[in-house]
């Protein structure tokens, strides 16, 4: 199937967004307490659909909520009965505007684990029912390092509809998936369909300028191999020394997916929740008998780094990190996973 491209301008795009918001359940970055978070919106004024780079919250909670109900149970002398929970409020058809490229990539990465072993139908259903609009990124923040990972100018597959700022104020609207194509067909897109091809040369030049603007760069190709050789390296201890174990990084990471299960029971009715957890939490691995295999901070850091750059890659062929830099921005002491990985990968190997 071939996908359509539309060309329009800022005004056309605005009009389209307005139409989408009025017709569909729409989510977009909304400024809350001085940072952007993806929220349900009812007008274009409330939000910034241009994939703001300083969004510190990822789009992950719209697919994997901070707390989701798994089951509902009722206890009585007749026994305990289990009921379906109320309808999933985010499983319906919806559109998310202004998703950052890295956030969208994060969903792609997460899909792998959600399709593997236990099939998380909730996640997949939410994903299937969502149309993601995303603007191709053209500016780097101080903590961004996506280009060091597998960012590819042409790889916009994570988006259903990609918005590309072309030369001379032209804005290209490209369907990237079947879902995106159908959406653009059903919802009148502005401008002309399938205009002249995007000026590839110019776009490439644009990308090169963009890539050059990155502060953080590394040669990631053999990072995975280097890391796996340095499991016992003291570099983990050194790199984690500043960490205050606050867990912020994991909670706002677009790819972290550790969770815990908890029950909340009142009277005879209980709800079982699946909520975020973090492997940086000292009690994450505490076993019922009292033993904790990862009591020290550096071991938890090692697990987190190795999972992101070794184990996940080994299993699913992709790093569990998209280089968004959210964690470093949010970290109260500015620890960047980039620096940790860089430090470990280049540390001497102990014989």
């Amino acid at each position: 199937m071939s996908f359509s491209t539309f060309v329009t301008d800022t005004a056309g795009l605005q009009k389209m967004f307005e139409a989408i918001i009025s017709k569909h359940e729409t989510y977009a970055p909304v400024e809350k307490f001085g940072k952007f978070d993806y929220k349900k919106v009812s007008s274009l004024k409330e939000c910034n659909p241009d994939s703001p780079i300083d969004a510190t919250m990822s789009v992950k909670p719209l697919f994997f909520p901070r707390a989701s109900k798994i089951i509902k149970y009722e206890a009585s002398s007749a026994g305990t009965s289990i009921h379906e929970t109320d309808e999933d409020p985010i499983a319906g058809k919806r559109v998310i505007l202004g998703v950052k490229h890295c956030d969208a990539r994060g969903l792609q990465v997460l899909e792998a684990v959600n399709k593997w072993d236990y099939i998380d139908s909730d996640f997949l259903k939410r994903r299937a029912n969502t149309v993601i609009f995303s603007t191709r990124c053209d500016k780097a923040d101080t903590q961004c390092f996506c280009t060091s990972l597998d960012y590819d100018v042409e790889n916009l597959d994570a988006m259903d509809v990609a918005i590309i700022n072309g030369p001379d104020g032209r804005i290209y609207l490209c369907a990237r998936t079947e879902k995106g194509e159908n959406f653009l067909t059903q919802n009148p897109a502005p401008g002309s369909r399938n205009p002249e091809p995007i000026a590839q040369e110019e776009m490439k030049k644009q990308y090169e300028t963009f890539a050059a603007s990155f502060r953080l760069k590394m040669d990631y190709k053999d990072v995975n191999e280097k890391m796996s050789k340095r499991f016992d390296s003291p570099a983990f201890e050194e790199a984690s020394r500043n960490c205050v174990s606050c867990n912020t990084c994991a909670f706002i990471c677009p790819t972290c997916h550790c969770f815990k299960i908890s029950d909340e029971k009142i009277r005879d009715t209980g709800l079982r929740y699946k909520s975020y957890d973090s492997c940086n939490n000292a009690y994450f691995t505490l076993e019922a008998g009292g033993h904790n295999p990862r009591p020290a901070k550096y071991r938890r850091w090692r697990q987190r780094s190795m999972h992101k750059f070794v184990y996940y890659k080994e299993r699913f062929g992709v790093n569990l990190c998209v280089g968004c830099g959210h964690c470093a921005i949010s970290c109260p002491v500015n620890i960047s996973i980039f620096e940790v990985v860089n430090h470990v990968a280049n540390a001497p190997v102990e014989s």
Binding site: K69, K72, E264, K265, I266, R267, T269, G270, L271
Partner: protein, 161 residues
């Protein structure tokens, strides 16, 4: 003596929420064993009547009351909370109610700031001889909470009473 429920009672903190017609407030009462619980027993032995909305929990001393009992009660079952202990100077454990008093004031003011009406959580000193006072206190708290309407703040989702 059923607390009188009028046609349309709205939640004071969330005016968009209207109480169902059969709504009855629930008051969680936490009483110290030596003064207030004994006082509430005296109310009973004297056959003094008060509204039936309060559910009493016995603790040894008002100083046993951790502020998160109040928070938990508000989150789950309660529309209002009453905590009662011995009069200052009468604490069976010498100084327990003085420590409790500090915590109560701070908790009350904090709850007030985050949007709870100040009558949601009330405190009293009731001695073992003040059966009549206990009845009055319960009546006042119940009347207050009836006026405030149902509590709908930070309730646990599965709360469905």
């Amino acid at each position: 003596m059923e607390a009188e429920v009028k046609d349309k009672i709205v939640s004071i903190e969330k005016p968009e929420i209207i109480a169902p017609p059969d709504w009855k407030p629930v008051i969680v009462g936490i009483l110290c064993n030596w003064c207030s619980y004994a006082g509430s027993d005296l109310t009973g032995t004297s056959r003094m009547q008060y509204p039936p909305n309060i559910r009493i929990i016995r603790v040894p001393c008002s100083s046993r009351v951790d502020p998160w009992f109040i928070i938990k009660a508000l989150q789950t079952t309660a529309d209002g909370v009453l905590i009662s202990g011995c009069h200052p100077g009468d604490c069976h454990y010498i100084s327990g109610n003085y420590y409790a008093r500090r915590r109560f004031l701070v908790t009350k003011e904090l709850l007030k700031m985050v949007g709870f009406h100040e009558h949601r959580v009330q405190f009293s000193w009731v001695s073992a001889a003040e059966g009549a006072k206990f009845a009055q206190v319960v009546k006042k708290v119940t009347d207050d909470v009836v006026k405030l309407g149902p509590l709908h703040l930070y309730k646990k989702e599965n709360f469905n009473k």
